[in-house]
């Protein structure tokens, strides 16, 4: 089995103007262009959500309840990581350092929101496909499949490919 450890080492709250739209209640996962550096694979992503007010009010902090699920090709590794850990301190040298958690102070309990983050993991050997999706308690997002060999990305809803208005992730 592959030994991989996914790290979510940056996130910011100031991406709303550039983030892709979400067209209804639910959770969506989007990806930017993958890059490799120093043997690490960097996958910039956005999580967007839209919840009815009663649903979002029931959650203390929607952003903190988002979980990213990742897995490699068949037989590979699998991990699930909280997107925002309120207790996690981001090192100052990391690109999106925003200070200590108690100084972030951004209201996340909105009915619509976006978080950007970069998933980082060791460059896999070979050319596997990586699969990512989000959950927000009982809600599940679309699923992104990133093929490292071709550089292609695909997005699926309930197992079926669907149109994905992001230039980096062409549907097929």
């Amino acid at each position: 089995m592959e030994d991989r450890h996914l790290r979510l080492h940056s996130f910011s709250y100031d991406v709303q103007p550039l983030s892709p739209p979400i067209d209804g209640p639910g959770v969506r996962l989007w990806a930017g262009k993958t890059r490799t550096q120093n043997g690490q694979l960097h996958l910039p992503m956005y999580a967007t959500w839209q919840l009815a007010e009663p649903d979002s009010a029931a959650l203390r902090d929607v952003g903190e309840a988002l979980v990213l699920h990742a897995s490699g090709s068949a037989g590979g590794w699998a991990e699930a990581v909280k997107l925002i850990d309120p207790d996690k301190e981001v090192d100052e040298y990391e690109p999106n350092y925003r200070g200590n958690p108690d100084r972030w102070g951004h209201p996340m309990n909105l009915s619509t929101g976006t978080v950007s983050f970069t998933a980082t993991l060791p460059q896999p050997q070979g050319a596997p496909t990586l699969y990512f999706h989000l959950t927000l308690l009982q809600r599940v997002s679309n699923l992104l499949a990133l093929d490292l060999q071709s550089g292609e990305g695909r997005s699926f809803l309930e197992g079926a490919p669907h149109a994905f208005p992001n230039a980096d992730i062409p549907p097929r």
Partner: protein, 295 residues
């Protein structure tokens, strides 16, 4: 044992392509609900037309657990704890051919324990994601579970496997006996419970402190092996009879595949290391048939 996380044949009703998680009501008492995951993986026939492709799909099955309060999250591949070479069945969905396999496994095989607080589970496999199920937290500590062996047959089966995992094979035997009072549990060849019970009895021999107990355990193991062998033999004879009636090609292929799975499993059972203690006994017969005195 063939598998402590057996993969079952699919039910034929109410299924959709993708991954379906079944309601846990089948599993009986609340204490089983938190731990057992049961469902089916159903794919278009073209995507699961070879055993390599089918195994690949099973290897892709990933279980995710997220706790409700703190959203503590974990994910693990399912199949390293389960068995490949499972029996797939052909099913029609919207008149189109699909292949399906039903799975059942214990969350503790993947994560070692069940969260104490309510949690959410779901399965994914490449592009497929199941619906999310909410589970109550672990309802009973292991000690309490081990003290309640008088429930229904399926409960008893869960307890038997839990006791085996805990290394308490001798106590698992009573739970297996209770489970086998329900006719369709021992009779289902796709769930190797009789064989696994025989393995549990064999493994208990090492911890037996006196000769009479060891003899009883050998006899019990051989009795279950004998029943398991008879069932397999009956099923093989049935397959031969069906093949001799010159069935249509599709049915013939299915029967041949079933025959292969059964013969492979019988071969594997003959050399299973868990049965070492029984093999060393004077009552062992290589054919799988116990000596009359041992029955």
């Amino acid at each position: 044992m063939l598998s402590r996380t057996p993969i079952f044949l699919p039910a034929s009703e109410g299924l959709a392509a993708g991954i379906s998680l079944f309601e846990s009501s089948k599993l009986g008492a609340a204490r089983a609900r938190a731990e057992w995951v049961q469902g089916a993986l159903i794919l278009p026939a073209a995507e699961a037309d070879t055993s390599a492709r089918r195994d690949r799909w099973l290897c892709a099955l990933t279980l995710s657990v997220v706790t409700e309060k703190d959203q503590l999250a974990a994910a693990a591949k399912v199949v390293p704890q389960a068995t490949l070479g499972s029996v797939w069945r052909e099913v029609k969905i919207a008149a189109r051919p699909h292949r399906a396999v039903e799975f059942a496994f214990d969350i503790r095989d993947a994560f070692g324990d069940v969260p104490k607080e309510p949690f959410y589970i779901h399965l994914s496999a490449e592009r497929h994601i199941s619906a999310i199920q909410r589970r109550e937290g672990a309802p009973a500590p292991a000690a309490a579970l081990m003290g309640k062996e008088g429930g229904g047959a399926l409960d008893s089966l869960s307890i038997a496997y839990a006791l085996c995992r805990a290394g308490n094979h001798a106590r698992a035997l009573n739970a297996f006996r209770t489970a086998f009072t329900q006719d369709d549990i021992p009779a289902d060849l796709d769930r190797p419970h009789l064989f696994n019970a025989a393995c549990a009895a064999s493994l208990a021999i090492a911890k037996a402190t006196d000769a009479p107990t060891r003899e009883k355990l050998v006899a019990q193991s051989l009795k279950w092996l004998d029943e398991d062998f008879k069932l397999a033999h009956e099923r093989l004879s049935e397959i031969w009879r069906e093949l001799s009636r010159a069935p249509e090609e599709e049915a013939r292929q299915r029967l041949v595949a079933q025959r292969q799975v059964l013969t492979d499993e019988l071969d594997a059972r003959a050399t299973d290391p868990d049965l070492a203690a029984v093999r060393e006994s004077s009552a062992w017969r290589p054919s799988g048939k116990p000596a009359p005195a041992a029955r």
